[in-house]
Amino acid sequence: MSNANGQSIVILGATSSVARALAHEFARRGSPLIFAARDTDDAAVIAVDTEVRFGVPTQVVRFDADRMENLPRTLERCLEVADGDIGGVVLCYGYMDEQKKAQADPDIAERTMNINLTSAVIVLEQFAAYFADRKAGFIAALSSVAGDRGRQSNYLYGASKAGLTAYLQGLRNRMAPCGVPVTTIKPGFMDTKMTFGLPGLFLVASPEQAGQAIHYAIVRKKDVVYVPWFWRYIMLIIRHVPEKIFKRMKM
């Protein structure tokens, strides 16, 4: 893997606590980092923090997954600031609003699809072409367990993530011959800003634990990982409930 060989790692959506913890894992091993985020002020703070802690070079790039017109130039802008090659990209952003709101407001529904799926496709295709050309690099993205099965409580978010999961599956198939691993990360409950204070969460992973697990999966070139790992089995059960029964369950 392209750690510590001077190639930059791009973190898309760099200001979440999990993205930051993951960036620390790369930086700890000497990789330069490019933080792409909408809130560039906060990304700049995270960049300095990473430099102070780990002594690696960092860059900040403005990136807004909700602004479609700017997305096609994402790779180009990362390359402009990179000192040398790009060794990998991790997509860490996502957008989740309340399901009820998204049902009633087509703008929110559209935004959910645009950010979680459309923007991901537009951006990752650029990196895929770049890595395929060089026969090196890696791609990873945070999808969600919500994409494993649609549930009434958040199926719009779930649908967008299911789309992302299928997209990554196909991309993995395409990239396999050129030796570029594509890793799908499916987080369960994590202790983030998105989930803080929500009722009914259990066995919640800290951002640091999640960051370590995600880094490990990327370095080991895993295909699909659940974070924390036991979510694989929770989802295995949920996926296997017959639809006849599932459709009447309150989930």
């Binding site: 200001t15 809130d39 002020d41 923090d49 803080f196």
Partner: protein
């Protein structure tokens, strides 16, 4: 605006427990938004929750958790000055800068505290006799007051706000960031000399004799020993190990073996801690620490022995415990002896007590440390304990001593006011920084640092 979570939280002593609305900002902007638009009307900042009593809880009100505002903002490698957000922990500072040859200038007995918490309680460590408290090494800090203003405070700029904030238990604002002068070291090790002392007189004499020769000095006292053995202790004197004395077998100046970190997964039943088990522990500690010279110990084992056991506060069971700490003036060792006697007689089981000579006070209006001797011990919580502690408080006050806000859980407002003569000055400064009285905590209300809530029946 970020959402809050209803949580039942307590200090490290796990008593009292209160339900609070907890907010946890993850960036500066979250915090700004929280304070500007119809956010919480009454709140207190909280770090890693290591103050023992009720300083960082606000029952029925809000608590702002600062732990995710933990970014390092700058590093001056020449001078060893770090700038970081208030939620950075001392552990993070050590992990980042010890391998570069810099250690904390002052450290309490746990590294699981935030920089903001260390400032808010103007914490002290084993080097207080010579090197003062944490605030001495704070070059400046950024304070967010309830008006939303961000104020840079230092002994030169906004000195009133600075000296109210250090030791001010979070009641002047939220500590957003600080610049801290670290201390250069050549290794991650400490060389320790141990002196066994038979009783309180010999340990006090030994402290007086040796203090100025050593950077770190602290005595562990067996507070169950009675009569002529009262105050039986092991005095531990330490210096940072210079590189030239580092044994080759260690393999590098900053290499420290990682140890297993056991956890206490559940509350111990209260029977586990009984006079017999405590007696056995204290006797054993004395027995396994004969006088010895020049033992080489890594910084974790020396400074943070209890951090090795996660959730060690659970050994006191569900009812929790209190850590009682009092400082007596230099010429009031009589009071110290009386307190020790009182505790020893009452057989309120406690593990080792800690005795230390303190150096001159800082200018913090509510800073705890001042020149004298400080005694610290853990006592399991019981209903009958509170009146007993009130008797202890009276004794401390009688001898001109004082209690520590990071630990106190029960003292009375009038006793507290008598111990802190600058309280009125503090209230005046707080009134200017927080005119609407938004910063409050259970501790602040209990000790009447702020007025009681209008809706409170009391």
């Amino acid at each position: 605006m970020i959402q809050s979570a209803k949580q039942r939280i307590s200090g490290w002593g796990r008593c009292p427990v209160e339900e609070c609305a907890v907010f946890r900002p993850e960036k500066r902007r979250d915090l700004e938004e929280l304070l500007s638009e119809g956010g919480p009307t009454e709140y207190i900042a909280r770090g890693l929750g290591r103050s023992y009593g009720d300083a960082a809880i606000n029952g029925g009100g809000s608590v702002i958790s600062m732990v995710r505002l933990n970014r390092m903002l700058g590093w001056d490698a020449e001078r060893g000055i770090v700038e970081c957000e208030g939620g950075v922990s001392l552990e993070e500072l050590i992990d980042t800068f010890l391998p570069r040859g810099w250690f904390l200038p002052v450290t309490p007995g746990t590294k699981f505290v935030t920089v903001g918490g260390a400032i808010a309680h103007d914490v002290h460590g084993k080097n207080h006799h010579g090197e003062g408290s944490f605030s001495k090494y704070v070059l400046d800090l950024e304070l967010v007051t309830p008006t939303g203003d961000v104020m840079t405070c230092s002994p030169e700029r906004n000195p009133d706000a600075f000296w109210a904030t250090v030791g001010g238990a979070g009641l002047t604002g939220l500590i957003l960031s600080a610049r801290i002068q670290l201390h250069p070291v050549e290794t991650a090790y400490v060389r320790v000399d141990y002196h066994r002392c038979e009783n309180i007189d010999t340990v006090l004499a030994a402290i007086r004799e040796t203090d100025q020769q050593y950077k770190y000095s602290v005595a562990w006292v067996d507070c169950l020993a009675k009569g002529k053995n009262l105050g039986r202790s092991v005095l531990m004197l330490g210096e940072h190990l210079p590189l030239k004395d580092l044994p080759l077998s260690i393999g590098g100046p900053y290499k420290v073996k990682r140890k297993l970190q056991p956890n206490v997964p559940i509350d111990f039943p209260s029977l586990m801690l009984n006079p017999l088990s405590i007696w056995a522990f204290n006797t054993m500690f004395y027995a396994v620490h004969p006088s010895a010279q020049g033992k080489i110990i890594d910084y974790n084992t020396y400074f943070y022995p209890l951090d090795a056991i996660h959730n060690w506060n659970r050994i006191y069971g569900k009812r929790g415990f209190t850590q009682y700490q009092a400082t007596f003036p230099l010429d009031a060792t009589e009071g110290l002896v009386q307190l020790l006697e009182k505790l020893s007689k009452s057989s309120r089981a406690s593990f080792l007590a800690v005795l230390k000579r303190m150096g001159p006070a800082s200018r913090g209006l509510l800073s705890y440390p001042f020149e004298g001797y400080t005694l610290t011990l853990d006592i399991p919580m019981k209903a009958s304990l509170i009146p007993f502690l009130h008797e202890c408080d009276e004794l401390v006050l009688k001898y001109g001593g004082r209690l520590y806000l990071a630990k106190d859980v029960s003292t009375k407002p009038e006793v507290f006011a008598a111990m802190y003569p600058l309280l009125n000055v503090f209230k005046e400064v707080k009134g200017k920084l927080d005119p609407e009285g938004r910063l409050s905590s259970d501790l602040a209300r209990r000790l009447r640092i702020v007025d009681p809530r209008k809706t409170d029946a009391s």
